[in-house]
């Protein structure tokens, strides 16, 4: 006891020194961890920011901007899938509108309230089991997933024969034909879809939480896929299908994988869109929808997931910004602009914004340093 009392300054100093050493070690470790995983921290930071933004924006945003952002995210979801099959894998498919159509209709059939169903299907009653089902808002995700699965099933039907036998523009035309067949079926099955008159009064479940949440998941999946061994196989198929096959890659299975992924994304996007706009007709998901997606991925860079996301938001912005031109000045002008944009980017800007590359933090750093060196 007395010894302790006598030595307390020494002991205290020793403790302090020990504490300092521990803290320094922690700091070093923390720095090392930061250095090794700074990308993940930055990504986490961005996700947290996104979370904060969405929770504020759901109430605080101007309704017009809210709508543009929702549309942007929906286009981005579909475009990410689309760029995986068209860009990463290089298999040119033009059937995306058919898959969106399926997603939109199945989601709608599942979430439309029963009283609304009675009002819409006046002439002929809606077939079982949809006349008994009306999922509440809390089960919206189930309806969306069902839409995605429906699209995947359709993709299996067309993909198994078409991806095995066709490539290039033949594949494009065959998938386009399939998309149109889906449209014609939907338009000609009034007991199920109310035909060309469409369905109105869809509950507006879609909001920023859903669109951005699903976008984040889809982007994560697509990036993981592209950077994985499977993604390498997909890219190899784009670059030289014959060589990839000669190295033992089951080309057909990988093409199908990419195709199903893209169909799933398109189905989700279709469902989200239906619950955003509230009224759907088969005409809403015709070939021009695939044209939009094509424009998005061409602008963003075919095969770039980052490009598809950025392109989706850019497209939605231009689309809504030009709406007044379409309604007030010259109807149809918007599509002329889009068509010219597509032609021009094919002629002069074939790489697109990102080429086949992706956004990375390191790349941003390089770009930042480059800009900084120019400024100085």
């Amino acid at each position: 006891m007395r010894a302790w009392a006598r030595n307390w300054p020494v002991r205290l100093r020793a403790w302090a020194r020990g504490l300092l050493a521990v803290l320094r070690a922690w700091g070093r470790d923390l720095l090392a961890v930061l250095r090794a995983y700074w990308r993940f921290f930055l990504t986490g930071l961005v996700l947290a920011g996104l979370f904060a933004f969405v929770s504020w924006g759901e109430k605080g945003l101007d309704r017009f901007i809210w709508r543009v952002l929702n549309f942007g995210a929906i286009y981005a979801i579909a475009a990410v899938g689309y760029t995986v099959i068209n860009g990463v894998t290089g298999q040119f498919s033009l059937g995306a509108h058919g898959f969106m159509l399926l997603g939109a209709y199945l989601t709608t059939l599942l979430i439309l309230p029963l009283h609304q169903k009675e009002m819409v299907w006046i002439l002929r009653p809606l077939v079982w089991p949809f006349n008994r089902i009306a999922l509440p808002g809390s089960m919206f995700i189930l309806a969306l997933l069902a839409g995605g699965v429906a699209a995947v099933l359709a993709a299996v039907v067309v993909g198994i024969p078409a991806l095995r036998a066709l490539r290039g523009d033949y594949l494009a035309i065959a998938t386009l034909g399939f998309g149109e067949i889906l449209f014609l079926l939907v338009a000609n099955l009034p007991q199920l879809t109310n035909g060309a008159m469409g369905i109105k009064g869809i509950p507006p479940y879609t909001n920023l939480w859903w669109t951005f949440g699903i976008l984040v998941v889809v982007v994560y999946a697509a990036v993981r896929l592209k950077n994985s061994s499977f993604g390498r196989a997909l890219r190899a198929i784009r670059e030289d299908e014959l060589a990839a096959e000669s190295m033992g890659i089951n080309v057909f299975r990988h093409k199908l994988l990419a195709f199903l992924f893209s169909a799933f994304c398109a189905g989700l996007a279709g469902g989200l869109m239906a619950a955003l706009i509230g009224t759907i007709t088969p005409d809403l998901f015709r070939f021009f929808m695939t044209f939009y997606l094509l424009l998005i991925i061409v602008l963003g860079g075919m095969g770039s997931i980052s490009g598809a996301v950025v392109g989706g938001f850019i497209f939605a912005t231009i689309f809504e910004a030009l709406r007044f031109v379409d309604t007030a000045v010259v109807p149809g002008m918007r599509m002329v602009v889009f068509a010219l944009l597509l032609i021009a980017s094919m002629l002069f800007f074939r790489r697109g914004l990102f080429g086949q590359e992706e956004f990375t933090w390191a790349g941003l750093g390089r770009a930042g340093r480059w800009v900084w060196s120019k400024i100085r």
């Binding site: 078409a162 066709l166 494009a172 035309i173 065959a174 149109e180 094509l294 597509l342 094919m346």
Partner: protein
Amino acid sequence: MSIFLQQLLNGFTLGSLYALIAIGYTLVYGILRFINFAHGDIFMFAGYWLFYWFFIFQLPWWLAALLAVALTAGMGVVIERVAYRPLRHAPRISLFITAMGVSFLLGNTIIVLPWAGGRQKPFPTPAFMTQVYTVGTVRIQGVTLWVPLIAAACLLALLFLVYRTKVGRAMRAIATDIETTALMGADINRVISYTFLVGSALAAVGGILWGCRYPRLQWDMGVLPGLRSFTAAVVGGIGNIVGAMLGGYLLGLAEILFVAFLPHLSGLRDAFVFGVLILFLLFKPTGILGKPLKEKV
């Protein structure tokens, strides 16, 4: 005249129109190996040129029709020059995408243009098309008589052009092997321009005859006939001129018979055509008369 014969004649008429359009697809595919997606819209444009010259500028019908064919043919050449030629050495899929862009551009240009617009317009049908002729005991309308006849005449003229003239020989040579032909000193660009000229002119004739048969104009009226004619080209064997004609007639007949015998499925008429297209692409991509294109390993 029995119903069946009437339907047969309808199918034949429709088929001859498909044949006229299908030629354009097959010529371009044979030479450049890409699907000129905008061809259907070129076809549509011919009707609108006629509409303009006849209704707005009040020219006599025959002159308006001639001008329409000439202008449409010129459009085909210009489009190739501006949008396709710079991409000749790019991946083929880039050409295809560009052609889609051109297709959407042409269609929506109609909506934007004054006097045309997005709503349906009447097509100026000339008197000799609506007149009713009496041959023996059979009374026959001008359209049913003239449309297949004019179409057949154009197809014969095309066959003559391709198989009996110097340009035609150059076109066939390029279709076989573009590089060798270039080495032998042929002016590839000129021949390709000719190809687009001829293909678009035939599509223009097709467009005008189509208008006489179904006298309505709409900005997107080129899309479906375009796809159906492309189907005809595939059925006949893409790249093969005689095949395109054959495919056109076959598809026209098949389509009319489908509607005649399965009237309750008439809404799915185009689904039937696309089904034919997909089945041919999958199981007989070379069509009825085409030769297989071998992939080089």
